[in-house]
Structure formats: C-alpha cells, structure tokens
C-alpha cells in the first residue's frame, strides 16, 4: 500500500521533450500530435498505450454528453494527524487542489449511459496519486448510499496508489466504510460495475475496486494489492513479464473483461441495458 510515489509523476510530465503540441508515447516512444491523441481519447494509435487521463476527461469519454451532474463536490480532506514528512500534508494538499481545480481525488454524481441513469464515481490519479483519504472515502460512500436509496446502478472508475498515508488510520478505515456501503447496495439487488484503470493498487484495490458484480479493466493496467517493488524486495526475485497487468488478472480469473477506452462507454451501456431490460426470470 502506498508505494506509489514513483508513479506520482504523470506520464505527460515525464516526457518533457516534446512541449506543447506534441506528446511522446511511453509505450512505443513515438512522438504524437497532441490533437490526434485527444481525438483518440489519449490512446496511442500505434501501440494502444493508454495514457493516464483526468477524471473530467474520463467522464467525457464515458457518459452521454452533458448528462453528468456532480454531487458532493465541496467535500475535502482535513489533516487530523497534523502530518508532516518532507512537506506538511496541508501544504501538499493545497497544492493538489490548486493545480487540479478539484477538492479531492474523485468526482461523483449521476449520469446517463444510453437510456440508463447511473450513479458514478471517477477517480483522478493526478490528484495526489489518487490516494484514498477520508474525503474520497466519504464521497464514494455517499454516492453508494445515494445509489442504494434511489435504486440506481453504480459505476466506480478506480485509479489509485492506495490509501493516503498522511491520513493514517483514517485512510485505512475508508476501506471498511466503502465496503460496508457496497454491502448494502448489493443486498438491495443493485448492480455495481467496477472499472479499473492504470494503476489501481493497495487499499483501493483491496476494498471497493474488487467488489463489482462486473469488474472491467483497461488494457495493460497495473492492478495489484502489493506493488511490484514491494514484492520484489520480499521474495528477492525478478517478477515475470506482464505480472499484475489487466491481462494477467483476466487469466487468473480475478476480473471479467479487458476493454479498451474507445469501447468502454458501449460496454457499460450494454451491461446496464442487460440488467434493466427484458423479463425477469422469476417474479
């Protein structure tokens, strides 16, 4: 959990060479015209590399245009531990808020997919590595409870370095809180689709991300409990190629399907149509 600091530098910042109009693909090293990338939902047309994208861009790519109605946007984290490492947590947090124009690492609300209304939560890796603190846990829980009360299907798109260490035990307890809310949603007979994108790790994986009736991953996303470096240090062995990637999880029976970004909307719409349409098998 929380080994994500090395991943904190977003891809788009790592490839500093082409500035402005161009992006370098970390997958095939090709230099791509930025407008083309945007048109292609930030997926490399050559090698299929899925760039990390913000929660807002993700929502635009997933739901019917203009249908997203944000809820609970004001909720933000506090600093109950008064945590300081190389920097004060409250300063780090303020920077993240200023930079992202978000109050924490996810957006929640309702949206339409085709004819289906759904509750949706989308995480943002650019906000402190998508780490889960109390604000994020609260927003996911509120959205889940809203879905239960209004009998809505729930979609959560996860991307996270894990629990937010700076909030100590409170961050750990968000795993319990969100999972308990999902238990009630499931008990009400409602659908939860969990979408995992690169990377989904640690405490987020070990709670709501793995509790979907259907679990879908984007191609080649890192999805794990313990990060590869932690495992390598523990077992002192090089890890096999493709370990902990989407296709590896599919092969081992942990997730249902691997779906490229361009097809994600249609796949989600199909699943929601499937549960909302037709006759019940038993009345």
């Amino acid at each position: 959990m929380g080994w994500f600091s090395k991943l904190l530098v977003p891809d788009r910042e790592k490839s500093k060479v082409p500035q402005g109009l161009w992006e370098k693909c970390p997958g095939c090293q090709r230099v791509i015209y930025k407008k083309d990338l945007e048109k292609n939902l930030w997926v490399c047309a050559q090698c299929g590399y899925h760039f990390k994208i913000s929660a807002r861009d993700r929502i635009d790519s997933l739901v019917e245009p203009g249908s997203f109605k944000e809820m609970n946007s004001n909720i933000g984290s506090l600093d109950p531990l008064e945590f300081t490492d190389t920097e004060k947590y409250c300063d780090r947090y303020k920077k993240a808020r200023d930079k992202s124009k978000m109050n924490d690492a996810c957006l929640t609300g309702t949206a339409m997919l085709g004819k289906n209304k759904a509750a949706i939560a989308v995480m943002d890796f650019f906000f402190m590595g998508g780490s889960m603190g109390a604000a994020l846990g609260e927003k996911i829980t509120l959205m889940t409870e809203f879905a239960t009360e209004n009998r809505l299907p729930l979609i959560i798109v996860s991307t996270s370095g894990g629990a937010r260490m700076q909030e100590g035990i409170f961050s750990l307890m968000q795993m319990a809180k969100t999972s308990a809310a999902l238990a009630r949603h499931a008990k009400a007979g409602l659908m939860f689709i969990s979408v995992l994108v690169d990377p989904t790790t640690g405490g987020v994986t070990a709670s709501y991300s793995m509790l979907g009736d259907i679990i879908i991953a984007e191609p080649n996303a890192l999805i794990c409990f313990a990060g590869p470096r932690v495992i390598e240090q523990t077992i002192r062995q090089k890890l096999p190629e493709g370990f902990q990637r989407s296709e590896f999880l599919l092969k081992h029976g942990i997730i249902d399907m691997v779906v490229p970004r361009s097809e994600m909307h249609d796949k989600l719409e199909f699943i929601l149509d499937f549960i909302n349409s037709g006759e019940r098998a038993v009345e």
Partner: protein, 321 residues
C-alpha cells in the same frame, strides 16, 4: 539499520530490569533486616513508570513486535477451553497464518479467528510470520460464516505485519480476498470483537477487524502502513522509521483519542512479555464484559450499530467553492 533502531528497546529493557532487580534487592533487605524501605521502593516504582510514560511511538512499535510478546495461541490457550481448530478455505489449502476454530469462554461457545506469527523458527515458517495469503482470509471468512449460521459470537485476534506480498498471493486475489472480508463482515449477524494484540498491519489486519468492538492492548499498534514503509516512501529513508511511527499516530492511545478503537486493555509495565499471565487475564476480562454487552443487543441494532461505527470514521470538511 534495524539493529540500531532495535538497540533503543534493548537499552530500555536493561533499565527496566535494573530497576526491577533493585526493587527486589531492597525488598529482600527490608525483609531480612526488618527495616522499612517502602519509600525507596516507591521511588523506584515511580521512576519505572516515568520511564514508561516517556515511551515514544517507535519504542511502542518495538514492544508490539517483541520476540517474547504473547501470541494469539497464548491467548487462545490461556483464555478459552476446549479450543478445536477448523482448517482450510475449502479450495486451495490451509493457511497456518490464520488460526481458527470453536472454543468456550467461561462456558460460553464462541468462534475464534486469529493471526499468529509463530514463536520458534519452524512455527514462524509454518505461519509465514503471521502474513496470511488469500486462502487465510477465505478460511477466516468461511469460519466466520459458520459462526453466523450457528449463532455464535466471533472473537478475532489481530497480529500481523500485513497480508503477504507475493506472486501466488496476487495471482489468487489477495486484494479480492481482503475486500470480500470487509464487505461480508459488515453484514455478519452475530457480535464480533476484535483484539489487536501486537501489530495491526494495514489491510491485512483490517480484514479481520470489522467488529462491533475494537480493543487494543496498551503497547500494540494499528496502522495504514508500517513505519518503515512510510519512512521509505514519504521520508525517502527507511532509517527514519521512528519519525514515521510518531507521524502515523499508530499507538493505542492515539487511536483511542481518535475514537477508532473502543477500549485499551492494560499491560504490565514495559509490555505483556514481562508478565504474560496478567495480560492474558486482562484480555479475558475485557472479552467477557464486552461480550456481555453485545449479546444483549438485538440483531438489527447490532448491524446498524456496526455500519454507523465505520460510517463515521474519517475527518473531512466542506469547502465553499
């Protein structure tokens, strides 16, 4: 590095031992010579407590991990009668990092699910140093569902560095196994008491801790990440573990202050390894009184109470924008 960090605790233990031997020496002299030395003994006792009052989060972490600290099996043997183990997840294997089964607590039937790190080298290897694989969490859940089916309260003992980070563990869904325990435990319609007896290591500990009452031994710790892990990531230096331990606020006192846990169970001065018997008695008394309370609660109230308990964990704010 670990050795120098460990030296901290050894010097403390030496000081405690010295005071203890002085106390017994004075008591002996007092008895032999018929002189009253109460005041001297009292001063020494006070000095000892002072020494312990000053224990920092890192020293408490070292006590929580002390090699002689009582393990789950010590509590099981010392508190319950007729413990009868249950084995396996019914799919892959029996994970010995989890000890589970049926037992009686003062004549009352209960189900126990515990993490045990192992005492001897062989035991440590067998129990994987208390780090469960997914099969361990599935075994735990299977046994807890058994408890629910037959309406028996569940008592869990928490003592793990964390869920095992390994290739097979990931292949077989470590995250999934933990997540399912969190979800299912929140719905189990029997009283659950969790006791943190040593290390409450992150998600691997939480997966057995969705309880109606969370109790912690005075010198145990419960944290989102180990001080070493936090130090190497956030402080960029694993040697800064003592600093990270303080920053994480992982002691029983901290967590009681945050209302995350319900009760601190007392330990003898310096840690339970200095007097396991009294600690085991303290745990037993705490279990009985908490179980008495919980068994009086109606099932719906119990489940709603558990939901609310975790629902309210977390401190956040509302911004104006």
């Amino acid at each position: 590095m670990t050795e120098t960090l460990q030296a901290n605790l050894i010097s403390l233990e030496e000081k405690l031992n010295e005071i203890d031997s002085q106390i017994s020496k004075f008591k002996q002299i007092s008895a032999d010579e018929g002189i009253k030395l109460n005041e001297v003994v009292e001063i020494l006792e006070r000095r000892k407590l002072q020494l312990l009052d000053e224990l920092d989060a890192w020293q408490k972490t070292l006590i929580a991990r002390h090699k002689d600290r009582p393990l789950a099996c010590d509590y099981i043997n010392g508190i319950f009668t007729n413990f009868t183990p249950m084995c396996g997840d019914r799919h892959i294997m029996d994970d010995h990092a989890i000890v589970a089964g049926m037992a009686y607590l003062e004549g009352r039937p209960v189900v126990i699910v515990a993490q045990d790190k192992g005492r001897t080298t062989e035991e440590k290897v067998l129990r994987n140093f208390g780090m469960p694989h997914p099969e361990g969490y599935r075994k735990a859940l299977r046994v807890m569902k058994f408890a629910e089916k037959f309406n028996r309260p569940i008592i869990t003992f928490i003592d793990t560095p964390g869920a095992y980070p390994g290739i097979e563990a990931e292949e077989r869904g470590q995250a999934l196994a933990i997540a399912e325990n969190l979800r299912e435990m929140s719905q189990l319609a029997v009283p659950i008491i969790a006791v943190v007896i040593g290390e409450g290591g992150s998600g691997g500990a939480l997966a057995l801790s969705i309880a109606d009452r969370i109790l912690m031994l005075k010198y145990s710790i419960y944290s989102v990440i180990s001080p070493e892990g936090c130090a190497s990531i956030l402080f960029r230096d694993a040697g800064k573990a003592p600093l990270a331990a303080a920053a994480l606020k992982l002691t029983a006192d901290d967590l009681y202050g945050f209302a995350i846990i319900d009760q601190i169970i007392n330990e003898p001065a310096g840690g339970s390894h200095r007097d396991p018997k009294s600690t085991i008695e303290n745990v037993k008394a705490a279990l009985i009184s908490n179980l008495d309370d919980l068994c009086r609660v109606d099932k719906n109230e119990l489940l709603n109470g558990r939901y609310k308990k975790f629902r309210n964990m977390g401190v956040f704010c509302s911004f104006d924008n």
